[in-house]
């Protein structure tokens, strides 16, 4: 179906609710003195939007707003993922000391606006919408990153993020302008048709794609567009780091899949995607994926700051996720979607423990974790161990299952070398994850190390994140089923 503006509104409730919440938050912030209600209000808006999103499952797929955005299972999946991420981050923010220094109204407004951008990143089928959504996420991310007052690290991180993001998205629209010039349209479907006639100059096409990739790549954090991420992750307030590392990363992957798969390739036999001839993406992505995971893991090795370590580990994980793209078939894409959900849960969990520790000690370096389990924080330490081992991909945790599917896809696609590199990388990564676990459990606290207490708000959240990490490691059937279903693109 191809709906006009008014007809589309019916299928647009999640976005409308979210935008309404954003506007109401601005007004509430001006009217209400007690700023504590803002977080629950924001969460309520997200929940309503989530409800509306789930309502949309089962309705017909199609284009909305004159083919600007598309409604299909793929976009719904990423809406659910973004909403889950933002809900958990709101919860994390409530218990975080750092965030209390920030103006609450602005904080939650911008956070929700960013989520709205992620919605569009997953659902846009038009170069203009893709650019707008990407910029909406980027601009809000810059603000969130720099939102700590008079904080050296926060401001510096925001500046770097801004410049880097500006250049990346600038290059992206420059590349897009060439695609537009070659095809005469901004619409993905038209672009696909024109490009498949194969008249476009291949080298020009390649360069245009390269430029576009810089924009997507910087959102999905892969080498060589990753340089901003360690600095930004370290400088930003921790909940925002968590948000960027899962939400923005997932949205980057979403926009990339949306552009590369339905737009510039077409579904062939047996779930394999065929690219436009002459654009050797698999080779290119293969290299990028390997370099990304290797670089991320190697850099994380000697890292002393846990937040920064998680940033590098995030780069490495972007590399793993990219493996699913390399194989160019639906098995790989499904594995990617599965991994995104799993990564969301375990990575948010790890950052939550970082918040708990920094709340109590004000520190983020690995020394602050010394003997954590014996400093009144046995539960967070245990959960952290679960999250980290899951990130490392040890069975029987969710991370293992996720990696298993990715590896299975890669091996099935006969990219053996990539599989070997990924496995070696997993081994390397085990070292630095295990080092933190060792510090928490096997080292004994010095007398100067503070007790780490948990606030009652954080404890349930910790369990909410830790339990699925274990649970999906043992019984992933339903989740896998769900992600499988989510790989439905609407293509005409």
């Amino acid at each position: 179906m191809d709906l006009t503006n008014l007809e589309s509104l019916k299928y647009f409730y999640p976005e409308i609710i979210l935008s309404g919440t954003v506007l109401l938050l601005v007004i509430l912030d001006l009217v209400i003195q007690n700023k504590r209600v803002l977080a629950p209000f924001a969460a309520l808006g997200c929940l309503l939007s989530l409800g509306a999103t789930l309502q949309l499952y089962g309705t017909s797929e199609g284009w909305l707003f004159h083919r600007m955005v598309v409604l299909d299972n793929f976009s719904l999946f990423f809406k659910v993922v973004s909403l889950l991420a933002v809900l958990l981050v709101i919860w994390m923010s409530v218990g975080c000391h750092e965030i209390r220094q920030i103006y609450q109204g602005e904080y939650y407004t911008v956070l929700l606006a960013s989520t709205l951008g992620m919605f569009f990143m997953a659902s846009s089928t038009n170069l203009l919408m893709a650019y707008l959504s990407l910029e909406l996420v980027s601009l809000t991310s810059y603000i969130l990153t720099g939102s700590l007052h008079h904080n050296r690290r926060s401001s510096e991180a925001a500046l770097k993020y801004l410049i880097y993001g500006g250049v990346a998205s600038g290059s992206m629209i420059y590349g897009m302008s060439w695609i537009f010039g070659m095809t005469g349209s901004l619409d993905y479907a038209v672009i696909r048709e024109v490009l498949h006639q194969g008249e476009a100059n291949r080298l020009t096409l390649f360069m245009a794609f390269l430029f576009i990739l810089s924009g997507f790549g910087y959102k999905a954090v892969f080498v060589p567009f990753h340089m901003w991420s360690p600095d930004v992750y370290e400088g930003a307030p921790t909940p925002i780091t968590a948000f960027l590392s899962v939400g923005s990363n997932a949205a980057g992957v979403a926009i990339m899949i949306r552009f590369f798969f339905p737009a510039v390739s077409h579904l062939g036999e047996g779930g394999n995607w065929d690219f436009i001839p002459g654009v050797e993406w698999p080779h290119f992505l293969l290299m990028v994926s390997m370099v990304t995971m290797t670089l991320g893991n190697l850099c994380a090795l000697g890292q002393q700051n846990v937040k920064r370590l998680l940033a590098y580990s995030g780069i490495a994980h972007a590399g793993y996720i990219l493996m699913g793209l390399v194989v160019l078939n639906n098995i790989g894409l499904r594995a990617m979607l599965f991994y995104i959900v799993v990564y969301l849960i375990m990575n948010l969990g790890a950052f939550l423990v970082v918040i708990i520790v920094s709340n109590a000690t004000g520190r983020e370096d690995i020394e602050a974790y010394r003997g954590l389990a014996w400093r009144g924080a046995a539960v967070p330490a245990t959960c952290m161990a679960i999250f980290l081992f899951s990130l490392a991909g040890l069975p029987p945790l969710a991370g293992f299952v996720g990696k298993f599917f990715l590896f299975a896809a890669v091996i099935k696609g006969e990219f053996y070398f990539l599989a070997v590199v990924a496995i070696i990388n997993s081994v390397i990564s085990l070292y630095y994850y295990a080092l933190i676990v060792k510090t928490m459990f096997l080292d004994f606290p010095e007398p100067t190390d503070q007790e780490v207490a948990m606030t009652p708000t954080v404890f349930p959240l910790l369990l909410i994140l830790a339990i699925p990490t274990v649970f999906f490691g043992i019984y992933w059937g339903p989740l896998f089923h769900y992600t499988n279903q989510s790989l439905g693109f609407f293509i005409k």
């Binding site: 410049i163 060589p224 096997l442 019984y475 896998f480």
Partner: protein, 680 residues
């Protein structure tokens, strides 16, 4: 193949211990504070006992069926459904696994009960029982799994519990170190195991029937019989990989180094995990996949050889150990070697038979040793014991019974099973392996009686204070000992060979799984009886020798050893330096990556100082030279270059935004250049 009979109570056999583990693990601290340790032990022991009763029920149900139809299955849910790969969580009972669960829940239950007394003083009582229950669950999962992946989960689960329990008293670094060692050595095995699984799945998938379920593998394995990669049969390769996994878990040379160190854990743990059950997982796995192994004769030869070598070499190491538990540890390694020898000879039922009897008498030995250790206030050095016979009457009795069983003297349990293995390997034509096993039988009798004499006989060598406090263990510990001793006495009746007028019931019981023995029926009966007499003879000889040296002292041990074999004695005492070799290569290499390596340096220095002070032998000098300059150099280079690369890469992150952008530009330009060259 007949469709197995669906049931729905098998799951409870497996899941009940998990329930116990869950309750104790999550609420244990509270329970212990509120209701005392009794509550904990109740929560922990009840599920295992119920599981045992259910296992007996299952066993009776199986008995009621025709031999050919003895399969019960209990499917829970579909676990993975990915393309051609369909894995269900299903528990499966056949004559083989039912024997295993009876042993696990039976011996395990006794050890649970024993632990109530043994761990009474420990603060972390609940943690101990939670892990013990979790272990029981994982082990049951391992043996009842109906597919390789589920088995692997159990495999890793038992491993995890093992590491956790080895390092149970984690405040002592020696213990955590031992746990680490077990962890790392087992990783080597696990890689093999996983590769084996993948290889089987991959080749079956190629043949159009990708599966990891045992029964389906059995059905489809003829399809891949002739498949080859790199000129080696896929089946051979897969079985070899799986065997590497078994070597790690079952501590076969050269992956045996972790087991003696694993004795750092509480003694009941050593009895349950590191003697009776977990370490036999490798044996079980091969027996489970017997249809696969039977297709790979060369793998079987490798297994038989490794098993025989292990049996022999670790028995020799056991000769000179002074720690009461280490002797038993090496003995376990050695007995596991026997089981593998049986597997290698294709005598699966003999191997499992030995597994069962070994579970009885070795658990009994360990628990008795635990009783001794507790009586002696945690003194484990046998040279400081002696004369405990009257002080610990029950323990002495059980130790003696189990010791005789181990030594292979009829009519105790060990005799029948061990002799079955030796006979099968001999009649299978594995003469060299048989000879090693035969020699090991003599050594076994010697070291176990050396131990009995040192501990229970002679004059007391402990200091007076300790002596005055020696006391027999409480009833709750003695009772399991007596039951196990009784089983060690009569366990052999399960498989009395036909030559001796028995009917070898256990072999017939296993026929649906392993097929009819056949083949050697026409072997001369006289030969069998002769060999039997010989092995009893060498056992008695070993006992006599031990008696002469350690009790009568007509042969003084030290002069004996220094005269007969000055260098060999030292070599044995240092366990052939295998540990050291390992430290310098695998373990060290891995630990360097995890930078836990600091302690090893200490170890090397100790070793060098120690070695040069006591003996300036050529061996240690060359050894040290080699290790320091070659192995160290290589290991250091790898570790350093990994870290170095990490440091270099991080230097790219200068913090300067311009340079970040340069990196991007550089990469893009590189991509274009590559593209231009690539498309000519």
């Amino acid at each position: 193949m007949d469709h197995p009979i669906q049931t729905d109570y098998l799951r409870w056999i497996v899941l009940l211990p998990l329930l116990g583990a869950g309750i104790n693990g999550l609420l244990g601290a509270i329970l212990q504070r509120q209701f005392g340790k009794r509550a904990i032990s109740f929560v922990a022991c009840t599920p295992v006992v119920i599981s045992f009763l259910l296992s007996i029920w299952a066993f009776i149900n199986l008995l009621a069926l025709d031999p050919e139809k003895r399969f019960l299955i209990d499917s829970l849910y579909t676990w993975i459904s990915l393309g051609s790969l369909n894995v269900t969580v299903a528990f499966w009972l056949d004559p083989l696994s039912v024997v295993m669960i009876l042993v696990i829940t039976g011996v395990g239950g006794l050890i649970h009960i024993y632990s109530i007394g043994y761990m009474q003083e420990d603060e972390a009582y609940w943690r101990y029982f939670a892990f013990l229950n979790l272990f029981t669950f994982a082990m049951l999962l391992l043996v009842t799994a109906d597919n390789l992946l589920l088995m692997f989960i159990g495999w890793e689960g038992v491993g995890f519990c093992s590491y956790a329990l080895i390092g149970f008293w984690y405040r002592d670094h020696v213990n955590t170190r031992a746990g680490n060692k077990a962890f790392i050595v087992n990783r080597v095995g696990d890689v093999g195991f996983l590769l084996g699984i993948f290889l089987i799945y991959w080749s079956l998938d190629k043949a159009g029937h990708g599966t990891v379920t045992f029964r389906e593998i059995e059905t489809f394995v003829p399809l891949i019989k002739d498949l080859e990669i790199w000129g080696i049969g896929v089946v051979t390769l897969a079985t070899l990989f799986l065997f590497i996994g078994a070597m790690g878990k079952s501590a076969q040379i050269p992956l045996h180094v972790w087991l003696p160190d694993a004795m750092q854990g509480p003694t009941p743990v050593s009895a349950l995990i590191h003697a009776a059950t977990m370490v036999t997982a490798g044996v079980y796995m091969i027996a489970r996949l017997n249809f696969l192994y039977s297709l790979a004769p060369s793998t079987l030869t490798v297994i038989a050889t490794v098993g025989a070598l292990t049996a022999f070499l670790s028995a020799t190491i056991g000769l000179v150990q002074n720690d009461i538990k280490r002797v038993l540890a090496y003995s376990t390694v050695s007995q596991l070697g026997y089981m593998f020898l049986a597997m290698g000879a294709g005598a699966y039922s003999a191997g499992i038979f030995h597994l069962v009897t070994h579970a009885f008498f070795k658990a009994c030995l360990f628990l008795s040793a635990g009783s001794v250790i507790q009586a002696m206030h945690h003194e484990q050095d046998m040279q400081k014991m002696g004369g405990l016979r009257w002080r610990l009457p029950y323990t002495h009795l059980t130790y003696l019974v189990a010791g005789i069983a181990l030594a292979g003297i009829p009519p105790f349990a060990g005799f029948f099973s061990k002799d079955e293995i030796l006979w099968k390997s001999f009649s299978h034509g594995l003469i060299f392996q048989w000879a090693l096993g035969f020699a090991a039988a003599g050594l076994t009798a010697f070291y176990i009686f050396r131990q009995i004499f040192l501990v229970f006989y002679g004059s007391p060598r402990a200091d007076p204070h300790t002596q005055s406090l020696v006391h027999e263990s409480p009833q709750i510990m003695v009772l399991p000992l007596l039951i196990l001793a009784f089983l060690s006495l009569i366990g052999g009746s399960l498989g009395v060979p036909e030559v001796l007028g028995g009917s070898n019931r256990i072999e017939h019981w296993f026929e649906p799984v392993f097929g009819s023995p056949g083949g050697h029926e026409n072997a001369p009966v006289a030969m069998e009886i002769l060999l039997m007499a010989l092995s009893v003879g060498i056992g008695l000889f070993g006992i006599t020798l031990a008696y002469l040296i350690y009790l009568r002292k007509t042969l003084v041990a030290d002069t004996f050893s220094s005269l007969a074999a000055g260098v060999p004695y030292r070599l044995l005492f240092q366990k052939y330096y295998v540990d050291e070799l390992y430290q310098f290569t695998f373990v060290r290499g891995t630990l360097f990556f995890s930078r836990v390596g600091a302690w090893i340096d200490q170890y090397i220095i100790d070793f060098i100082v120690d070695g040069s002070a006591k003996t300036t032998t050529f061996i240690s000098w060359v050894n040290g030279l080699f290790d320091n300059y070659v192995v160290d150099w290589i290991v250091n280079k790898i570790a350093d270059s990994t870290f170095g690369a990490g440091d270099k890469f991080r230097k790219i992150q200068t913090g300067n935004i311009n340079s970040y952008l340069y990196v991007v530009l550089g990469a893009v330009v590189l991509a274009i250049i590559v593209k231009l060259r690539y498309s000519g």
